[in-house]
Symmetry: C2
Subunit: 471 residues, 2 copies
Amino acid sequence: MAFSNTALKRPAPSAVASAVEALAARFGNNLITSQAVREQHSHTTTWLPMQPPDAVVMAQSTADIQDVVRICAERRIPVIPFGTGTSLEGQVNAPAGGVCIDLREMNRIIAVHPDDLDCVIEPGVTRKALNEHLRDQGLFFPIDPGADASIGGMAATRASGTNAVRYGTMKDNILALKIVRADGEIISTGTRAKKSSAGYDLTHLFIGAEGTLGIISEITLKLRGIPQSIAAGSCSFKTVEGACNATILAIQTGIPLARIELLNAAQVAACNVYSKLSLPETPLLLLEFHGTEADVAEQSKMFGEIARECGGGAFEWTTRQEDRTRLWQARHDAYWAVRGLRPGAQAVATDVCVPISRLAECVAETEKDIAASKLVSPIVGHVGDGNFHCSLLCDVNDPDEMQRIEGFLHRPVERAQAMDGTCTGEHGIGQGKQKYLVKELGPEAVEAMRALKQALDPHNILNPGKILPQA
Amino acid sequence: MAFSNTALKRPAPSAVASAVEALAARFGNNLITSQAVREQHSHTTTWLPMQPPDAVVMAQSTADIQDVVRICAERRIPVIPFGTGTSLEGQVNAPAGGVCIDLREMNRIIAVHPDDLDCVIEPGVTRKALNEHLRDQGLFFPIDPGADASIGGMAATRASGTNAVRYGTMKDNILALKIVRADGEIISTGTRAKKSSAGYDLTHLFIGAEGTLGIISEITLKLRGIPQSIAAGSCSFKTVEGACNATILAIQTGIPLARIELLNAAQVAACNVYSKLSLPETPLLLLEFHGTEADVAEQSKMFGEIARECGGGAFEWTTRQEDRTRLWQARHDAYWAVRGLRPGAQAVATDVCVPISRLAECVAETEKDIAASKLVSPIVGHVGDGNFHCSLLCDVNDPDEMQRIEGFLHRPVERAQAMDGTCTGEHGIGQGKQKYLVKELGPEAVEAMRALKQALDPHNILNPGKILPQA
């Protein structure tokens, strides 16, 4: 199951030593080479083996990023940008060594423009810190991938999460980026205008590029007004199909669902134990509506009728903060509930995304596959987007179980791709999913990606070994 | 005022003759070389001089596009994709000659997936034809740039229009593209999944590239359910600033405006004459709300209160189809009303886009500039996006007026760029706005665009002379 990047050549030790020397002279204490810190900056949250960088620089400014890139570019040393390290597919590993640029101290909120509903921030700002800052102005940034990730990392991995069904993903919420390119110069990708048709869309090219085309040093984000009222509700279904049908109908009807999350029966059972709930152990939908009081009341009522038509149980909803929190507790605790099923086990996360008409079928087949593979893996889904996650419990010291997991992991991807879906809705390609890219888009698309990489990073120093399968 | 592309070399006449011969053998009657047809396919709707191609092929299939590109690529002959010819910045001109690929007969709707709210179409389908086809299924495609443009052309120019404030622009409504690349091979940019983080965002790279990186041969579009109820309303303001403030407040409040259009006093006066209306000749907002009956009633009521706070007159609104049509008549006739001000005159259109907080100031300065330049140019604006259009009446045989227009045209752009806005919100760069690109994004961004162009079209045969300023 080890991930190999054999085609990726490490730079000569003398080149690395020379870069570290130059970085030490420039950055002093902000250059760190201790093994503990290097390991903290390699990828530890997945099944992928850890590959630490040779050194870590705590960047304080765009000029710092530029200088690291220049020093490394001159010596052909890899640079790997790092936000909070919560990516799931090996995005911050350093398979050829090199210098990790830790951006978490670049966490200034440079400007907030309430009239324009936008803000300009540094990449190390986390989504919770941003929302904390914005709250008094009645504004919020809607993308919520679960972890308190850095906005820079979320942009680099094209993250999304529970309320993408209403607010879109990172790609829909960024107006412009400032990018440090492979030679250390700055590219500005856009303005604060809400829309533009001025030239190639550089903004979207860098979103989701996982730091392989340039390093994000500043982000102009769209913001939203905090809704006057928020309603939350839940509804049990006999089958995943019933839950998916209700979702499809609600979207077709035009109900502006803010969140609609599916927990499969296994996930509900895990949550009952972990969060001491007594939910029926069948597929569950959790919903949220945003709007005026009248809006959310009407939306909730409409959804209740749709749920009933689709064989759902009673749809309970509330606008009271404490009741909403209680309702959503199962979802918020989902990850820990899974971990609680087998204390000490690791959880391997994977995600795929299909057209919503195929979601029920894809989830049902995956549930059967999990059972047949004798694995433990509850499923949660951002069902409005056709996106779902498996959390596979594993004992890394049990080679038989690890082998079954390795065999399993390909199949949701194959299933999704056969249904005109994608191998990853929101986790990205990183190292873990490179092998699926050609199958999904064809060799010509991957050739085009390679040509773009070659055009913008001719010496392959920007986060090498990510996204593009080794030729 | 002539546009020069002196750096662009025409291919040798013998190469063109050889290509035309090969195309004739392959395409028979679908190859046209008559002067009349070639001129129809060059750019005639703007101030830019007409530059006809050497030949036109009426493509019937992706294979046809591939064969044209292969024949031309081999001989280094330019290929220029053509939809309906309604672009405004010279996008379909052929400054170095070459072969125009007319896509209007590639107008099949390949599949509609109502459960997934998407469809797959050929690029020659126009937006009206698509909506006609979708109506019975309760679906619609929201982007409306005014002209009944082809969806392929709208994708290629990153078009938007009156309801982008709610539904976004073309970039927000395309899931995937099939692209014929510069050597005639096919690139598939995505799947039907609603979201994906699988690799570089090729879809957005080709949207807005104006056919310079590849030719769009198939499009997977997002669709919407036709709203249960539509309300329309209008409100006069004493100043553009009042109208803009009302718009800002409505957006901040979270009212999901479907359309919010500004007509300045000069435009209202023109419409009064042309459409025999008696609107107060002050800035006017026209609005549309989509939702349930309760939604649109609440939204209309809320907007009415906001308008009053911002110094607006009475806000009249209605859900009756015939009354809505009457209310919006002024907007729909705006272009003809402008032309009616001086029969026989041409209208030169330009658009810019600024952060909405700067819109009132930008429009006011532009109004003063128009008056000082002794020009006639009403203004309409997609005010929710900060985007506005001038329609400059001109007599092409009056060199003095043409000179004043030439002098004028730069200034809205300079004004918008100084306000952190863009030189074009929705018309694109084409030939007309190349000179503004470096100023807007900096030389590094334009260098990056050049590198992308070189990577995907190394012989510069795909719509050469567009977007990128000659080096």
